[in-house]
């Protein structure tokens, strides 16, 4: 028995030794592990008892036993309790699911056993069957990351979690719990950002997260409005985006709540008493801002607006303004007030100072003007800022008499003139004008005769009945009365021709004048400028110059370019103004509006004299500096002359050949030349010369030629006779031509050239007339030998078919092909002008070449009975052969040469002249005729 006990002890010792060798036996298991969750902070505090200082901690999601933490930490024991504690911050809300914790002690590689699991239950335990989402209503800064979890209601399925309407990727934490993680969250809208958990059918639950910024307020400034209390203001920083009332920024000033600011309506905080140091604390769930300010009350006076501003006395030139203060303490405050006056076309600010200022007199106002006045004041000593501005107050000043007029009298002749005055401006009229009163008196009469004029009149004519000067006085009138009259005495009229008028050149559209001082100019000078040559109601301008001045510039607004002005300087003294100096000039020269006038051109031999006149002055638009003369040549102008003297108005162009010319004359000013005036001339020979050259010279030349020809012919008369009038040999006649001739029956050669002459006796109605188509004519001609050397017509042309009354031939069916000329030529006489070779013509007749009448087809429309027999006879000869019939009738056709040149009757077909005539030698007239006609 003891042996068994010893064995057991030994065995147990062995086991202990082996444990100690594994390191387990030396470390005690931590105990008394407790878990303390902080749900809003998502932290879990662990406390335990242990002698070790190094621990392994494991945290699980209980249901799925997913390890969410496995960490070795060194933890010291608390000095009092000896407990060890460690806090873990969960990435997901602790309510999402149950968490289990175990812990073991560690000493290098030695570890104790794990402590028993400690679990904090989540909201997904079966006892809580509803839907939940965590965290709820959390406030986080913009850009933060968060994990949301949804616990699905029992018996419901999970579908999705939506963040701000967007479905997020969810992970499963337990049977009913799902989580999403959102990173870099943007700022929320008014009611926060919604995170919604949905089942396939319903919206189950959700949470709201408020994402925003900490307060960004700045610039705290405190001031007093009533010299007792304080009003602190600051600038609101950026929008915190936290609109839920419990999340809004909360403000306290020196520890007191700022109620109005906490409502989010203003950024003001008031304090009933002034404290020299101020601290504003702005706090929201995401942060706190502290703003401070420090100042004495007197340095921060911001006055309220003056009340009840009224004008107690308003005159033409001043007004008295009163107001009251809403704070009685202001009455003892040294203050400065600023009145802002806004009138028509004028505004000004005026400062007034005084203690408790509440009344000021506004001076230097203008009569009859509406003013709007506002008042604001500030503390004079240690001025902080202008106080609030009063409501605008309107005043209207009274009218006053107008200012004196600026009057001038312009004489346009020795006894007529016109008094002018300048209109009064609003500043000068002091009230709407109702008219003018013009009075004039002469030195002799010493009596004023007033005339009332309407307010739109600005001049009045003056007539000097006698040579004495008159004085004119003009006064403006408004409801407040008449202005001081302005008097002017007629100056002596001086025409330009009576003076040496200088040329005045404008400078940049102005006239710069200067003159020698005059000792009599006790009242200064008057510069007057009027368009030159103007009469009657002219735009007279004038300006009065102090006596100390000796120069004046006429401004361009009263001058017009291209207009010549007469500028005069008058000396003003006690009496009438006297002329000191006069100019004429252009403020700006332009090219002439009209060219020269009356341009004429005259020819003198080979010279041309151009002459012209200058255009009217109003068209010159500048001083004429000269003229240019151009010769128009096609599309270009050739400069002929440039006349730089404007007084020269003619020019002689010398040595022009006979032709037509166009001359253009242009005037030019300093601005350039005008378009010019054109004149044309055609250069002609003068009468005597023309007679000589045109008639006598050719006549003389012709006479000389005739004489030379006559002499030459006389000298060479023998040669001329041979050449033009040679001896003609006698004819050589074979056979016996001495027997008296019998009746000669000569028939014309079958092929002779014939001229067919119209015969008036021909009856056009006879059917023998056959118009020959043009084509057939040509065809016929092609088959006839032509004497190409002859100028005479070589062919016998048939325009009709003359056979005699008894011969009837067929018509050419195509009558349309015959020309009207052919038809018209039927009444002809035939004259033989040449005879063709019989042999050749014979062939033609026998051949099948030309047979215009061969057509047997008669016109079916024509009756044929009368012509039938002849037609049949002709048809035996295969058609019509007019020349062949000659051959039948006269076999001695080869002897027909003796009948050449004899006229032949067409109807008789015989030579009309007797044979004896053939024997006679040709007369010289005949030869000469042939020579002249070109025949050999």
């Amino acid at each position: 028995m003891q042996g068994w006990v010893i064995l057991a002890l030994l065995l147990s010792l062995g086991v202990l030794r082996s444990r100690g060798q594994n390191g387990l036996s030396e470390l005690a298991v931590p105990h008394s592990l407790t878990l303390q969750p902080d749900l809003p902070a998502q932290t879990l505090s662990l406390t335990w008892q242990s002698d070790s200082s190094l621990f392994d901690i494991e945290i699980f999601h209980t249901e799925l036993m997913n390890v969410v933490l496995n960490e070795t930490v060194a933890v010291t024991a608390g000095p009092v309790t000896g407990q060890r504690g460690w806090t873990w911050r969960s990435p997901s809300p602790l309510e999402c699911t149950s968490h289990s914790v175990q812990i073991r002690a560690r000493n290098q590689q030695s570890v104790s056993q794990w402590s028993p699991l400690q679990t904090i239950p989540g909201s997904d335990i079966p006892e809580k069957s509803e839907s939940y989402m965590y965290p709820q209503d959390k406030v986080v800064p913009v850009g933060s990351n968060m994990t949301f979890c949804c616990i699905v209601k029992e018996k419901y399925n999970f579908k999705e979690i939506m963040y701000k309407g967007q479905t997020m990727s969810a992970t499963r934490l337990s049977r009913r719990a799902y989580a999403i993680t959102v990173t870099n969250q943007p700022a929320s809208d008014n009611t926060g950002t919604n995170v919604v958990c949905c089942s396939p059918m319903f919206t189950l639950t959700g949470a709201v997260v408020f994402v925003g910024y900490p307060p960004g307020d700045e610039g705290l400034v405190c001031e007093t409005r009533d010299l007792a209390s304080a009003e602190c203001s600051w600038k609101k920083g950026r929008d915190t985006h936290l609109r839920r009332k419990i999340n809004r920024t909360n403000y306290t000033l020196n520890g007191r709540d700022c109620l109005e600011a906490n409502e989010g309506k203003t950024w003001l905080c008031s304090s009933k008493v002034w404290e020299e140091n101020w601290t504003l604390v702005a706090r929201n769930p995401l942060g706190t801002v502290r703003l401070t300010d420090s100042a004495q009350l007197a340095d921060r006076v911001h006055l309220l607006a003056p009340a009840n501003v009224t004008a107690v006395e308003v005159e033409a030139w001043n007004a008295t303004l009163n107001w009251s203060w809403p704070v009685a303490a202001y009455k003892k405050l040294e203050m400065i007030c600023q009145l802002k006056l806004i009138g028509h076309e004028l505004s000004s600010t005026r400062n007034y100072s005084g203690t408790g200022l509440s009344s000021v007199m506004l001076e230097d106002l203008w009569p009859d003007v509406d003013y709007t006045v506002t008042v604001r004041c500030g503390s004079k000593h240690a001025f902080w800022k202008w106080g609030d501005e009063s409501a605008p107050y309107s005043i209207h000043t009274k009218m006053d008499r107008p200012d004196a007029l600026d009057v001038w009298l312009w004489m346009d002749s020795s006894n007529t003139g016109r008094v002018f005055w300048k209109p009064l401006s609003e500043r000068e009229s002091h009230g709407a004008l109702v008219g003018y009163k013009v009075s004039q008196s002469s030195a002799e009469e010493d009596m004023w005769t007033p005339v009332s004029l309407p307010p739109e009149r600005l001049n009045y004519p003056i007539i000097l009945n006698n040579s004495s000067d008159i004085t004119v006085a003009v006064a403006a009138q408004n409801p407040a009365g008449l202005s001081q009259p302005s008097a002017v005495t007629t100056p002596a009229y001086r025409a330009d021709s009576q003076l040496s008028v200088s040329e005045l050149l404008g400078t940049h559209g102005t006239f710069e004048l200067s003159w020698q001082p005059n000792a009599n100019a006790s009242r200064g000078y008057v510069v007057e400028w009027v368009p030159t040559g103007c009469r009657g109601l002219c735009p007279v301008n004038w300006e009065k110059v102090p006596e100390s001045d000796r120069s004046f510039t006429v401004k361009p607004d009263s001058l017009e370019g291209g207009v010549r002005y007469t500028v005069s300087v008058y000396v003003l003294s006690a009496g009438a103004a006297s002329l000191l100096q006069r100019w004429q000039g252009y403020s700006q020269e332009m090219i002439p509006a009209q060219s020269v006038v009356e341009l004429s051109v005259n020819q003198t031999g080979s010279d041309v004299l151009l002459s012209w006149k200058a255009s009217a002055m109003e068209h010159q638009r500048g001083f004429i500096r000269g003229y240019t003369i151009y010769l128009a040549n096609a599309a270009r102008l050739d400069l002929v002359a440039n006349i730089s003297d404007p007084e020269v108005r003619s020019y002689r162009v010398k040595g022009l050949p006979l032709s037509s010319y166009k001359f253009i004359v242009k005037a030019y000013t300093s601005a350039g030349e005008d378009m010019g005036l054109t004149v044309a001339i055609k250069m002609e020979i003068e009468t005597a010369e023309m007679l000589f050259v045109g008639i006598l010279v050719p006549l003389a030349a012709m006479f000389c030629c005739l004489i030379l020809i006559s002499i030459c012919c006389y000298k060479k008369r023998e040669w001329v006779k041979k050449a033009f009038y040679p001896e003609i040999p006698g004819p050589k006649v074979p056979g016996d031509w001495s027997s008296p001739p019998g009746p000669l029956d000569v028939k014309p050669s079958p092929h002779s050239l014939v001229h067919i002459v119209e015969s008036p006796e021909w009856d056009f109605s006879k059917k023998g007339l056959v118009p020959v188509p043009e084509e057939e004519e040509e065809f016929e001609n092609d088959n006839i030998e032509v004497d190409t050397d002859s100028d005479e017509p070589a062919l016998l042309r048939y325009y009709n078919h003359v056979v005699g009354d008894g011969s009837h031939s067929n018509h050419v069916s195509d009558s349309s092909g015959s020309s009207t000329a052919s038809v018209g030529s039927t009444q002809t006489e035939v004259t033989y002008t040449g005879i063709q070779s019989p042999s050749s013509s014979q062939g033609v007749c026998d051949g099948g070449g030309y047979r215009p009448q061969m057509q047997s087809a008669a016109d079916p429309a024509e009756p044929q009975g009368e012509f039938e027999a002849d037609f049949q006879d002709d048809s035996l000869n295969t058609g019509y052969k007019p020349q062949c019939s000659w051959q039948l009738d006269s076999p001695e056709a080869e002897n027909l040469s003796g009948s050449l040149g004899s006229p032949t009757s067409v109807t008789s077909s015989q030579f009309l002249l007797p044979e004896s005539s053939e024997e006679k030698p040709q007369s010289s007239n005949t030869w000469f005729h042939s020579f002249l006609s070109g025949k050999s």
Partner: protein, 197 residues
Amino acid sequence: MTGRGANGRRGLRGHAGKTSALARLLHKECIELLEAYRNSESLPSSPVAGDYLVSIPPLVPQLSDAEKISILRAALKECLRLLEDVITREDADFSDEDSEYRRKRKTVRDRLGHLLASTEQLVDGHKFEAEVKEELDGQAAGGSFGLKKWIVRVLQELVHWTGQTSDTLHSLPAEMEKTPKTMSRRTRKGGAGKIRK
């Protein structure tokens, strides 16, 4: 009531027509209000889980038109109370900045008041009361989202009951013309019948 003549019945029918049109308009506006709220809050269009908040006795065919209208009017009355409660809590929690949802919300509240006043003439003296099974106080744990979810449920309730009322009023004139006596008899027999409080 029994003394109401033909002119009175014609007037009643005319009034019922106007009330029907008013209910139809209100129903449309309630739908728009719910839509506007969902849009402003980026909420899903699926309904919020849960039963109807307002409970009424079943509208069985045996009930007269006046009784039906009276019962529906009781439900609408509770809806108005819920809506006003929601408005108060919503304005207390969040800033009262102007928005389309808030303008529509005011319109629906005002028009619902008009509809209740208008239907009062059609109930013929019947008085029923509806029951609200849940209150917002019980949803306080839900935080801000609990309030939003409650708002959706109230708006869903409004859509439902205004739709029911509109349908009932729409069929009312013809039936009233057919069965004026029934209506009169039930009116006499009726009286205040409290279903549940």
